[in-house]
């Protein structure tokens, strides 16, 4: 899962998960670019404050069975009465579902 880091937190070898674009939508640094120390100054010069990099740390992903997922989906249906129409909305839906799953586990 990608994570956002501020420019001063960039470490050598971090990989861009999302391309860096300027306000006109032009790609300044492509996805998968391996960041180096020199990129920090360039990014700051462009007025970029944070970038999205791949999180290589082992994430202890929780596993949920079908029954738990089905229960959380039913719960979410009561609060979220719209269908997602694009990838952004699908991500919001999935984050809400993930939070419910974790809450139910507790």
């Amino acid at each position: 899962m990608p994570k956002i880091v501020f420019i001063n937190e960039i470490k050598d070898g971090m990989e861009l998960a999302i391309p860096v674009k300027n306000k006109f939508g032009q790609i300044m640094l492509a996805e998968n670019t391996k960041l180096e120390e020199r990129h920090k100054n360039i990014l700051l010069l462009w007025g970029i404050q944070s970038v999205s990099v791949r999180d290589n740390e082992e994430e202890s992903e929780l596993q949920f069975d079908d029954a738990a997922i089905s229960k959380a989906k039913d719960q979410l249906k009561k609060r979220l009465k719209w269908n997602f129409r694009n990838v952004n909305e699908e991500e919001i839906y999935n984050l809400a579902l993930g939070e419910l799953l974790k809450k139910n586990l507790k």
């Binding site: 994570k3 956002i4 501020f6 999302i18 609060r79 952004n88 809400a96």
Partner: protein, 282 residues
């Protein structure tokens, strides 16, 4: 007297913003004002200075633990951002925090607003917004109308919260039915009284629509989406049980890349915990 008139009347009675905010606003009218002069004005109020430094060192500004003095804070964050931090801290203190209505606490609402502020700023940063200083503040104050209801119309607001559950509707629909005015309009009345910039007034008034008329206003669109995300993740409480549906047109105004929301989640929750502690409890 209807709710609209009651709000109008009470807004005029509401405590004015603290001296430190008006002194800073006055000083900033001088185009030749120096950071030293501003720092002198701020440091007179030691409690505020302490809180400003805490907020300035919040991780979402990216200078974690490196700003030691008010002068440095002004230098790193700029005049407008510092003014907005002072404003945000002042507003939090104007409203009572101990008026609990049906388990709904003002501190829960402030926590929701802080989550919206942080998310709005992260969206602004992701879409390459150059003038980010209003993004955090717009999120902080977007629901200020609800605080007016809690403060001045507590009995009616209790009916609103009950109706939200009974009718399974949005808080805005319930407010309109019970009060004849929603929190967006009530908040905008207060923002107008405080002479906040039009951009912030519009963010308060249109944050549920996501769009003002046919304009492509990125600040309104960002607050709209941030509000939905904060409600979905249950960061604080907005009074809404339903997660509002995004206005689909908003995605054309703020084009967010695939993977954006999962990518900010961890940072959002970390920044949220820390900022809530600083702004509400320290």
């Amino acid at each position: 007297m209807n709710s609209f008139d009651k709000i109008l009347q009470n807004v005029n009675k509401l405590q004015t913003l603290p001296t430190i905010y008006s002194s800073i606003s006055e000083a900033l009218k001088d185009p030749l004002v120096t950071p030293e002069k501003l720092a002198r004005i701020i440091t007179v109020d030691q409690v505020s200075s302490f809180k400003i430094l805490k907020v300035a060192n919040s991780p979402f500004y990216g200078f974690r633990g490196r700003i030691d003095t008010i002068s440095q804070a002004i230098l790193y964050l700029g005049f407008d951002e510092i003014k907005n931090i002072i404003f945000a801290l002042s507003v939090v203190n104007i409203f009572t925090k101990d008026k609990i209505i049906l388990n709904f606490k003002p501190t829960d609402l402030w926590a929701h607003s802080i989550a919206v502020g942080i998310t709005t700023r992260l969206i602004g940063s992701a879409i390459g917004e150059k003038e980010l200083e209003n993004y955090f503040l717009a999120g902080i104050i977007h629901d200020i109308g609800k605080l007016l209801f809690i403060e001045f119309l507590p009995n009616d607001f209790e009916k609103v919260l009950k109706l939200v559950v009974q009718k399974d509707c949005t808080i805005r629909e319930a407010e309109t039915e019970i009060l004849g005015i929603d929190h967006c309009r009530a908040g905008q009345i207060l923002a107008e009284k405080w002479k906040l910039p039009t951009g912030l007034q519009d963010a308060i008034l249109y944050h549920h629509n996501g769009i003002k008329e046919n304009q492509t206003n990125r600040l309104i669109a960002s607050v709209h989406i941030a509000d939905i995300l904060a409600t979905a993740l249950e960061l604080g409480r907005s009074g809404d049980i339903l997660i509002p549906e995004p206005n689909f047109k908003v995605w054309d105004i703020i084009k967010l890349p695939k993977g954006f929301f999962p990518s900010i989640k961890k940072k959002l929750i970390e920044d949220f915990d820390q900022t809530v502690r600083v702004m509400l409890y320290q």
